[in-house]
Amino acid sequence: MRFDVRYRTVFAYDAPVSESQNELRACPTTNDHQRLLDYRVTVQPNARVFSSIDAWGTRVDAFGIRRPHETMTVVAEAAVETRPNPMPAAVLRTESLRREDFVDAHIEYLQRDRHTDPGEHVTRVAREQVALVGPDVVGAVLSIHRYVGSSLRYVPGVTDVGVSVDDVFAGGEGVCQDYAHLAVAMCRSVGIPARYVSGYLFTDHDAVGAPAEADSVVVQTHAWFEAAIPGWGWLGLDPTNGQAAGEYHVKIGHGRSYDDVQPLRGVYLGPGASIVSPEVEIRRVQPADLWRGASQVPSAPVGSVPADLPLGVRRHGGGHPSGSSIRQQQLQQQQSGPSGSGR
């Protein structure tokens, strides 16, 4: 499948901003299932973009603007080709998860962070789900995947980026990143390495449910997860849409959680607040291919990352951050020194 993806975010500040520094992670990756053909980033006002690959293999475009501006527009355009992802056929017993070399190679995807720390409740539920299917890794992952899909209702705006997995689970509502974090946390809690994936999804409905026109939909960035299957590789699943990640999924990158692949993060200096409106336009380049073959165009709700907010915002004036917090931060610096102030 060939797609043209156009990611666009506009920041509108209610007063001029003197400086803004940002990192964009919007570039589709190249792997066994997809190939990046073309990529371009444009920033208004003009800024020099420095591109690099981060520790997780994701392209990062860094840019800063150091003159007063009231709006900032970031556009990332990509041409990408995708292929269907295979499913593992063999039954893999869960004992293989405990092999020393497997754990060693996947340790970062077995640990917890603020987004993927399962509470007691989530851990218990994960164990129950896995127990139902017996000692089969793929079965366990699929069971968690289905469970997450059925226990959350897709409701935009009910959760913040910082919300805990336990709270999401208890609330029963969330957006795609909540689905992904919950699935990741459940997998890890039973010893299955899992990672958070950021990307784009082509669906036959746009963000407000209107049918797609001319092979083009306007959506937002999406999130799903991948679980490591011993001896096979990473299995991508999209619990928000109840399906495996397939040729309609365009992957940007992966990480331990959202923080590692946040599409746009940055800070700006200025007194004002900002309104952010990110959107993604995906155009199918070879429409004839769309209706061939077994794969179905997803029709479930388009999961979306609710915006690239909250950005870390630093302002001069306006009491942010307060003098006491600066003092506190100054005190906290680790100076492994003779004065006993080291951590």
Partner: protein
Amino acid sequence: MPGWFEGYELEGWFDEAVTADGGLRDHYRSVADALDELDLEALARAERRRDAAFRTQGITFTVYGDDDGTPAAGGIERTFPMDLIPRVIPADEWSFLESGLVQRVTALNRFLDDLYVGGMQIVKDGVVPRWLLISSDGFTPEAFGVPVPLGARCLVAGIDVVRDEHGSYRVLEDNLRCPSGISYVVENRAALTRVLPQLFASERVQPVDQYGSMLLHALQRVGPPAAGDSPTVVVLTPGIHNSAYFEHVFLASQMGVELVEGRDLVVEDHVVHMRTTQGLRRVDVIYRRIDDDYLDPVVFRPDSALGVPGLMAAARAGNVTIANAVGNGVADDKAVYAYVPEMIRYYLGEEPILGNVPTYLLWDPEQRELVLDRLDQLVVKPVAEAGGYGLVIGPHATDAELAEVRQQIQDDPRNYIAQELVALSRHPCLVEDHLEGRHVDFRPFVLSGQQVEVVPGGLTRVALRRGSLVVNSSQGGGSKDTWVLAPDPAVEQDLDAESEPTVVVTSGVRTPGLDADGPDPAEVADAVLGSTS
């Protein structure tokens, strides 16, 4: 005139100045002779002048409310008391220490470069397990691919060294993030020279006041290629409320460079500039005394008010060098520390000159069993903490504490290590009207630039308070001027490279191991506790 060393008690400990049979070590003879020319009144006068000098200069540190080093509200500013009797390290002993420190820091630089820009060859070759590094709190994915010229990642390293009951030097801890204390080294020397110049009369003591120029030189060598021969260097401080602020001011002034806070720096097109009265001026090398987490709110803590937005991208682009490098904390991890001797063998093909304190890794079932059987004799430390925080001293702990730490080890063995107790050496100190032995440790400072070099001196910390064996400054600890003697040109130096690595090669007579009448192990434990901050 009194003989200051008459009646001096060893009490079974290894002493820096006095041999087991009570004789003065050769390298202390001239200090002892000079002291014997002085009476108590002269020394008391020297102490008063010393206190006045430190107070006038504002050389203070902040005492926090808790023993664990947690910043508490309303810290108290105090001077860091310097005992008048200097510690003396003879030339051949120093040469041994120096080569061990250079070797160790060279390997640590190689390791960190391998980890962050070298593809982790050490993991591929099976020397250090991957999971151990990745699971370390100090492991910093954001540092991946950020180049450091010359691979000088530990530009300033503070290596904490202790001496055991046999007089063997051992590394207790590597401080590779923002080690502090060098200002005391220089100021102690200046103060002692001022108040007791006669002590220096007949010894060839290597100077330490060139530290500023050594540091500047090292920093200039790691400038980005585009900066040319004389890169612009700044010292980045968190600000006046930081406990080490005095040292930040001191270092900037010693180097003759600007002291800046985050808000003084701006990033434009991935190049760092400082605001000056004449406009922006490019900055090439930042000697930062801010933690990684606060350096750049775009990449690390978004609420950091101390950092510079865009700094990491500038470093990644190779337009500025951050020293010490980002991500060094992984090598401070106490479980990773246990692998430093292996790193030395792996990267340098050499046997370690300085040994570690014997350390047990608790995820290994065999070592864990061994430790759990001897928990009441060992020291248990959380891997990510410094400053003695979270430490449990077996002989000192209650049954309840031992049970708790046993449970913690079983729940999360990666997070703890266990070490043998080290019976820290002692050194004579002036206590009221006589000399008494007090426990000491030692922090030499190692600089990496064009080459790795050691400042000929260091910070000797001492448990000054009677009965207390804790060297923490916040708990009655103090410091000593530390002399490194220049080699005697008349004597051929012969440091045998094949000599046993962890044993001091020189004049010291080795004392036998502690016997049943030796010191209470609990007291030893206190010394270990105190030595780690």
